[in-house]
């Protein structure tokens, strides 16, 4: 059974448009104008058990709406959707027992009571019991290092502490599928790293499928083998991170500083047959390495002939790539 199977998943919202000015406002009282917005436009998405998938896109691309449909909060306007074998909206109460959800921006622990009490309530809600539960809880507490503040009410915790408690709460019932909606938003580097390590561990140990939305691409780099990119309600990329780089990244750049001035045709001459483009003049040159050319290929030909003072290898970061895609839009994908 697949973790997520969506075909033609669509969500439309009716938004009411207000007319401008006082007369407009008055007319709105009697006759409202609606406009339909397609937040998610017939997407196909299949996720196998055990995968960690990063779900990215600009603000307003439809990520949160998708997550809300996948978790049964919103009813899809159209399309087929099975998550963990359930129809999330229709069979909500049964379905939500098989998933865990963490919203980075909303707490789902009870604000005024101790974390421990929240856990106790969740234990009852999910009908957990016995030795297995105790062990699992102890392990979560130990790995996430939340032992010291289990007795404190949630409102007194720092964001990092709260986030770790949220994760523990989402995993108490050992869900097969975990949704994380911006789990590292506003956290410091150390906590982020901690959480990433923990998620990897959960995935490896329990085979938990993870779907993660984030704006922090280092999350994706650290965790995900697969990336799904959304733009204006459409999936514009679905595949592994490496392919995204090769497809969109403009290759590596080798920046050279030479001991003495060398005319550019010499360099072109030396690297003939390799797909390299040279830029610059005098002692400073930049080589763009296209597909298939490695840095050592270039260097092995250059070094015997030219004295190199310093060299630097630059690679487009995922962030650069994503920025480019957002800017240029889906046209190229």
């Amino acid at each position: 059974m697949r973790s997520i199977e969506a075909r033609g998943l669509t969500k439309e919202f009716k938004v009411y448009q207000s007319r401008s000015g006082l007369t407009g406002a008055f007319r709105d009282l009697f006759n409202r104008q609606y406009r339909t917005i397609r937040a998610v436009n017939g997407i196909d998405l299949t996720i196998e058990p055990g995968e960690i998938v990063g779900y990215i896109g600009e603000n307003g691309a439809g990520k949160s709406t998708t997550i809300k449909m996948l978790t049964g909060i919103l009813e899809p306007t159209g399309g087929c959707l099975r998550v963990n074998g359930y129809d999330p909206h229709r069979e909500r109460e049964e379905f939500v027992r098989t998933i865990g959800v963490v919203f980075g921006q909303r707490s789902q622990l009870w604000w005024d009571i101790a974390v421990k009490e929240s856990f106790r309530l969740l234990k009852k809600l999910y009908r957990l019991s016995g030795e297995g539960y105790r062990q699992h809880l102890d392990r979560l507490v130990e790995v996430l290092e939340i032992g010291p503040f289990l007795d404190q009410p949630v409102r007194k915790l720092s964001l990092g502490q709260r986030m770790r408690c949220e994760l523990a709460a989402a995993l108490l019932h050992q869900p097969r599928l975990l949704f994380l909606d911006e789990p590292t938003i506003g956290l410091d580097v150390l906590v982020k790293e901690n959480i990433r390590r923990f998620l990897k561990q959960v995935n490896a140990e329990y085979g938990t499928t993870i779907l993660l939305t984030t704006h922090d691409l280092s999350d994706i780099e650290a965790l995900c083998s697969r990336v799904v990119m959304l733009d204006k309600g459409n999936i514009i990329y679905d595949g592994d991170l490496e392919r995204l780089r090769t497809q969109w990244g403009d290759g590596r750049r080798l920046i050279l500083e030479l001991k003495e001035e060398v005319p550019s045709f010499v360099l072109n001459e030396k690297t003939r047959g390799l797909s390299v483009k040279w830029e610059g003049e005098g002692t400073r040159y930049t080589a763009r390495l296209e597909k298939g050319t490695t840095v050592s290929d270039v260097l092995s030909r250059l070094v015997p002939a030219v004295a190199v003072q310093e060299l630097k290898i630059e690679e487009a970061t995922t962030e650069d790539i994503v920025r480019r895609i957002y800017r240029e839009g889906a046209a190229h994908a």
Partner: protein
Amino acid sequence: MLNTYLELIRIRFLMMLAYRVNYYSGMIIYSLNIGVYYFLWMAIYGENSTVNGTTAVQMATYVAVAWMSRAFYFNNLDREIAEEIRDGTVAVQLIRPYHYLLVKCFQGLGEGLFRLLLFSVPGLVIVSLVFPIHLPTDAGRWLGFVISLIFAFVINSQINVLTGLMAFFILNNTGLIRAKRVLVDLLSGLIIPIHFFPEWAGRVLSYLPFQGISYVPSTILSRGLPMEELFRYLGIQLLWGILLWIPIQLLWMTARRRLIVQGG
């Protein structure tokens, strides 16, 4: 299943304890209300020992019982639900394996039980020492009162849930909530017992659910009702308790379908 809901009641208890100041101020407000309405009614009675077939002692008892019962059936479910819809936390509630509205009602029950045990019962004892009220000693009447009070809680919570759910359709329903509160206090017979209303108004009210919230339980305890009438009133309360689920379910189903989570 029951276990879960008991746990919810327990959690509400803990939360009420976390906000003790609310509890103390509530106590003062209720004592004031009982005092104010007691003296008001005694001024109306003046020299008469009976008005409208109700003795002064029965009236004083009615005031005390009605307000103490209100401490139990009253809750802020309408405001809570409306707030959760407005700020989008209702989304978080929907990823839990429970029926959101039922959970809300049990939280309300937790709150009600808290006030009943820590406030109404001791309060009633104190009031009975200060004011000349007369509480019945026969167990049958108390039993009738308890059953009727449970129904009162159900009906009041249902009306609150209905009002709260309106936030799905009118985003800012604070005005509606306030109007509802005043209306319920008046039409339920809390402020004026329903048999003091003009006859036509009394007849209209007998077709509305509000009398089941305050008038019925308070009358059972303060004046007592003949067996037959007692059962009739309990039946009407039960009927409303069932009937009101229908609009709630309809509203909830439509609301979930057109739910737009505020703020992403």
